[in-house]
């Protein structure tokens, strides 16, 4: 198991190397020039050329790529062309904002999705099963931007229960320590702010959770249905075990592997694909950070942002693979 983990971590290197290569050349393939963007439409040819030379953009692509790799090896992510600050310094608040939102969305998706799937399988063909599966189908097909707008219309405009956007009340800003606002407010004992942060998380959290929740519910249901037909479930019932434990102990553990796979993949998507939600709710997350950088042709930010999201994605799936072996003694790595 240990050597497997090491091997998988080593395999990360070529994957991420390939990732840098693709991202580096793809952003340079899109039309547009950072120097042009920085200096504006009316800049002279000479000004643009001298800025290009300054930024090293006049070099051949492979030289630039080589320089970039050299930087990466010293764990230097470069400097934002737009803000002139180190990406490694600047990126954390955005990452933390996305982590916090994704975490909340993931909790909602897993808790609701898994339980809805289990209960649907347990009481197959009941009204709960039918309702849950129809809702799940609607959830999978729901355009997130539309759902987000409907939430805002309902809960902010009509009912005035929840703030429509942003991470915090701008008139009462959170003093940042870790940039996880839930944690920061708790450390400082600011319950008023904590509640405010929670309120800000609810709508984007639900919007972001909807699709993964629906997928998780459907996978859980079908996996559970298959497991609950098996002989060892009959054995567990023949022992006199309560149905609750038959379902939540004997069946769930056997049914969880496909569910875990989906959760892993969905988590990756949450982190990278929250741009829509972040945009609708003006959430200052990594998705919007990268998106803005693309508009500005801010090469170092785009490269680093995508590299970090990709690394997290690969790591999460590694963790999922390792969890398989923890759950199922028949799965052996090495």
């Amino acid at each position: 198991m240990f050597s497997y983990t090491i091997r998988r971590l080593l395999m990360l290197i070529p994957v991420l190397f390939g990732m840098t290569f693709i991202v580096f050349f793809m952003i340079r393939a899109i039309p547009g020039d950072p120097a042009q963007v920085i200096l504006g439409q009316l800049a002279t040819e000479e000004a643009i050329n001298s800025l290009r030379a300054e930024l090293g953009l006049d070099q051949p692509w492979f030289t630039q790529y080589f320089e970039y790799l050299k930087q990466l090896f010293t764990l230097d992510l470069g400097e934002s062309l737009r803000t002139k600050t180190e990406v490694s310094e600047e990126i954390w608040p955005y990452l933390a904002a996305t982590f916090e939102l994704s975490f909340v969305a993931l909790i909602i998706a897993v808790v609701v999705g898994v339980n809805a799937g289990i209960i649907s399988a347990w009481f197959q063909k009941s009204w709960f099963d039918y309702t849950a599966m129809v809702v799940a189908l609607v959830g999978v097909s729901m355009p997130i931007f539309w759902l987000g707008l409907m939430e805002q219309w309902m809960f902010s405009v009509q009912l005035d229960w929840l703030p429509p956007s942003k991470r915090e009340n701008v008139k009462n800003p959170v003093e940042t320590i870790t940039h996880f606002y839930l944690i920061d407010t708790l450390i400082q004992g600011r319950m008023d702010q904590f509640i405010d942060v929670v309120k800000h998380l609810i709508m984007p959290g639900i919007a972001l959770a909807t699709i993964p929740m629906a997928i998780i519910a459907r996978i859980t249901r079908s996996s559970m249905l298959e497991v609950m037909r098996s002989d060892y479930i009959r054995t567990a019932r023949a022992k006199g075990q309560k149905m609750f434990w038959v379902v939540y102990k004997h069946s769930l553990k056997n049914a969880v592997i496909p569910v875990l796979t989906v959760i892993g993949l969905q988590t990756g998507l949450l982190l990278g694909g929250a741009i829509l939600t972040e945009t609708i709710f003006s959430w200052p997350g990594i998705g919007r950070y990268i998106y803005n950088a693309i508009e500005f042709r801010d090469y170092p930010v785009i490269q680093s942002g995508i590299l970090i999201v990709a690394t997290i994605f690969v790591m999460i799936n590694l963790i999922v693979d390792l969890l398989y072996a923890l759950i199922d003694p028949r799965i052996k790595y090495n």
């Binding site: 002989d231 023949a238 006199g240 553990k253």
Partner: protein, 330 residues
Amino acid sequence: MSETSVLQVNGLKTSFFMDKSEVPAVDDVDFNLKQGEIIAIVGESGCGKSVTSLSIMGLVPHPPGKVVGGEIIFNDEDILKASESKMRDIRGNEIAMIFQEPMTSLNPLFTIGNQIIEAILIHRKWNKKQAKIKAIEYLKLVGLPRAEELMNEYPHQLSGGMRQRVMIAMAMVCEPKVLIADEPTTALDVTIQSQILALMKRLNKQLNTSIILITHDLGVVSEICERVIVMYAGKIVEETDVKTIFESPQHPYTKGLIQSVPDIRDKKSRLYSIPGNVPIPGSIKQGCRFADRCDFVMDKCKVETPDLITIETNHKVRCFLHQESEENTL
């Protein structure tokens, strides 16, 4: 052997409901299990043996299955009317069951120890340590070597025979009054088969547990049973002691079954087989259910349903051949 009966099945009817039509899988089955007795329920696949045993356990898959009539008397109580929580107290505690497929009947993700201890702790208010000691004791009782180490092993690390022993240990660990064994040896090698049967016989003697053995294998029956019930298409067709069933079977179906057992000494003739198949449950609306496959079929058989009649003490048959002779002698 004591004559007190531990389990009495009267007029049991279990049906499956498919597309609004009712398909009777078990139809009017009566039998009586005495304390310390081993009885066999014999018949081809699809004749209602397993459904009978699941009905006793209250584990008929519902929907589509449902017990629609009769009573099952256990501890002076009709357990068909018992609540689910009452049934949970009985299952695994007073009536235990082992299944045909040892390979898939144990949960692959929990250790042997965990699964046996679970079986104990559902019914006994013991601590884990006591339960563990008991579990190891029973693993030894069923003849498993290295019982302590087995506790921490997973089902996939064990052979089929070992798993079936684990299943038996798990079923016996609460010392049930009745053990239902649904084809316990079908999936095992012949040598392992006889070991498992010997084990069940030993536990029957040692712990005075009554056993209902469900099988299609008459060889198994002759090895350990005292009384045999032959079922066909959901009904009992013959019931007698094991000696009589082999020496003078009366129902044409029983005769056919016995002729179908291969004899290693007889090399010349082709092995006998009963022509045709067990009818699809519910497809025969009138007459004897065996009529289409019977060598002695009469006109009457296709119209009327014979009753289960006693032809001798301890010998009951459901066939017009005997009803006639009985009527004639009267």
